[in-house]
Symmetry: C2
Subunit: 460 residues, 2 copies
């Protein structure tokens, strides 16, 4: 709903740098049921901070386990870096609305105007800062499509850390230019599974010629961090700390909407590991939990990797090598790998524990969409709104368009807000397949999923 | 010079959409000596509007020949499109200043936050609008690195025009993803020289296996436009009309600097055909010509394609096929093709007639830089300021750094403004060569250049 004259709304609403949030918002503090604790896979007991600190930075562990502090101040060096590319614009999709002939007002929060091409930089710079503060010299991570690896390479260059990236092999081969961006920022990039770690050697031996997976790259990066003298592992999604850092997206969105006199009816975000979605919705979900306002909130995932809509809410491994703690989440099983024909990102087998709990409680909806319909939406968006979107973000575009068409059919003037997490400039291989008409859809069968569920660890 | 406290300066200064210029500034109106007229190559007489209208859109021709109207209103549909990505930010390069330890204040006007990845969209949307207004259905153009082709594809999609792009063959092969971006916006992309035009066939027969050149792709695009029933040819640089549209860059820069209380001492832009440079400097050069303020203005070009610094100021063909009018400009000869080892863009043999005249009158400086030093500057910029710059833009970064280091050596607090025309996300092949240490410099010999000069047409 809009209390002002809609004509007053500019295309882009930029907050000033002084209006940048001074603190991240920790949604867990407002949750009635907290996300289930991480478990030590050997003892099945909640992991301790000390155990986690072997793998992650100290301050990140503190944030990971903090379910009670509502506001966590953003350190000044992180804020200074944020000022280089934030606040990001909230954009009124006037031309998309016109093309759809919808009475709905569509807004999108655009996180792609930085070289990582996505929201990932919001957490990368925070985690790199904490690594630097702890006196580390090296950090390791995994990357799939490459946004997180790029973001962390940028953040590492800024703080003078050496960054070691394990990149899922099929992405490494399909996206050589992503690799070069990371190298330009001084990172080492290794295709995963590699022969540089024990787990990589084991996976290569078991599955010769494998294309790799995120779960497998995570295992390698964790092993590498633990074996290096002064290093830790940094993860770009799924974890509570990452969702915390991404709350800057939602806080800015909320502030910009208030400035415009708008209250969203529907909030839509794509979901892979869940960091962008949780960040976008955080303050709105907080209001919803506290009973201050009701919003429809929709998570969108690929039909080929349907954690929310067809997964099980259970404890599972976060990685293929089973070196990480167990997390309770919607999962397809840690061995699940989406079909190679799936090009649209969001291919992680699990989901943020926090979002999983919110979904289990019925506080949000989830929808699975097929990739040809996602690229159709992406192309329409590019041609009307100018920006060529990331395939990941285009999942949210697909549902925003569907919701806007529903408004048209029902004659409703609703306000739709979605997260445009990034640009697709390094995803043109997939766009090429779509342009050539050679892209296909893939939906796993129940039998495919049952095989994954059978391998879930026994907990309780 | 800054009249305010420097600490008040934000990283990014965004004008509001209401502050977008309502009119382009036509620098020619203030020039004491106007750019020399285009000549008909057959008669050696100034071309008429009627002759030009066979190739270009009517309104573009009017703008091309208008040396007297200082302000030309921006049509509302063009302004509406501008609002999707403009005003572009003026950014204070705090972290680059810190890394250099310079007392200079460095600002850059960033034109890369749109999917074309450059300033080219500013003229593309204007020209596409005029084509649509004239009732055309098809437009043709050439592209080298791909920014212009992408920009025109975006603009054509927006106005429902069919866009036919002739892409220099070596770029077509090195940058398949640029091609896919254009196709996503609905354009046809043909590698040039092709077998679809007479001039393409002729060039292929004369130079089998040629990599193509901008001059050759222009000839093909012009031929295609003239042969189609309802089409015209659109050019992305060099011409007066393009420089006119790009003045939006300089007008916004001037307005933002005034807001900050800053007056630049040095203004730096890269120069290929000259559209970005002329746009950035237009209002400042106007002040300089009118005697209101003196600025140092520096054009930066590749040492491997040194039109200003080693070219001749003479009438020459704008294209290899010699189908375009003759233009008086700094030129290396229409047959000049930079070495294939040159990866940094800015490879046109000639230069804007307007900039050529200003340079001939001593109103601006020019500097040629070698590409390894350009990529060194680009890498430093990426690591400190976050954004991975286009190789073209990095020519300006190189000289901005050199000027900032001069300020440091001389202990001078000058204000340096440069144009960051775009991002390098589609140029990772070249960055890869730099990262691998396999990039080499190439400077044409005097004998190389003499061969080009010997082929200049005889005029006067």
């Amino acid at each position: 709903m809009n209390t002002k004259n809609a004509n007053e709304t500019p295309y882009k609403t930029y907050l000033s740098e002084n209006e940048l949030p001074a603190a991240w918002y920790n949604l867990r503090a407002d949750m009635k049921t907290k996300p289930a604790p991480l478990l030590n896979p050997a003892t099945l007991k909640p992991v301790t901070a000390e155990e986690l600190e072997h793998v992650f930075c100290r301050e990140c562990v503190r944030q990971e386990l903090d379910n009670t502090t509502p506001l966590i101040p953003i350190p000044k060096p992180v804020l200074d870096f944020y000022r280089m590319y934030r606040p990001s614009p909230l954009i009124r999709a006037y031309f998309l609305e016109k093309a759809l002939g919808t009475p709905a007002r569509i807004y999108y929060k655009f996180e792609g105007n930085n070289t990582s091409g996505s929201h990932k930089l919001n957490s990368a710079i925070a985690q790199a800062y904490y690594a630097k503060e702890q006196g580390l010299t090296d950090i390791t991570t995994e990357t799939g499509a490459g946004q997180w690896g790029t973001a962390l390479s940028m953040a590492s260059a800024f703080f003078g850390l050496k960054c070691h990236v394990y990149m899922v092999k099929c992405s490494y081969e399909q996206k050589p230019f992503r690799r070069e961006v990371m190298r330009t920022y001084g990172a080492d990039v290794t295709p995963s599974p590699s022969m540089t770690t024990d787990i990589g050697k084991k996976i290569n031996a078991e599955f010769p010629g494998t294309n790799g997976s995120l779960g497998c790259a995570i295992s390698e990066a964790v092993e590498a961090a633990v074996k290096m003298p002064n290093a830790r592992y940094l993860l770009g999604s799924v974890l509570n700390q990452v969702c915390l850092h991404q709350s800057v997206i939602g806080l800015e969105t909320q502030a910009a909407l208030r400035k415009l006199g708008e209250t969203p009816d529907v909030i839509i975000g794509c979901a892979g590991g869940g960091s962008n979605l949780s960040g976008l919705i955080a303050p709105f979900m907080g209001e919803k939990i506290r009973g201050e306002h009701d919003y429809r909130i929709i998570a969108v995932e690929p039909a080929s990797c349907p954690s929310f809509t067809r997964g099980k809410y259970a404890y599972d491994f976060c990685d293929t090598g089973k070196v990480c703690p167990l997390q309770k989440m919607y999962t397809l099983g840690s061995a699940f790998i989406p079909s190679p024909s799936h090009a649209g990102g969001l291919r992680y087998h699990g989901m943020s524990a926090m979002l999983s709990e919110l979904y289990a409680e019925g506080l949000m909806e989830a929808r699975a969409v097929e990739q040809t319909s996602v690229f159709e939406a992406a192309t329409m968006f590019a041609r009307t709104e100018g920006t060529l979107p990331a395939p990941e973000s285009s999942h949210a575009i697909r549902v925003a368009i569907d919701e806007a068409l529903r408004c048209k059919a029902e004659g409703k003037t609703e306000t739709i807000v979605f997260g445009l997490t990034g640009t697709g400039y390094f995803d043109m291989f997939a766009y090429g397949n779509y342009n050539d008409g050679t892209m296909s859809d893939y939906i796993p069968t129940d039998a495919d999923l049952a095989a994954g569920f059978a391998m879930l660890p026994k907990v309780d």
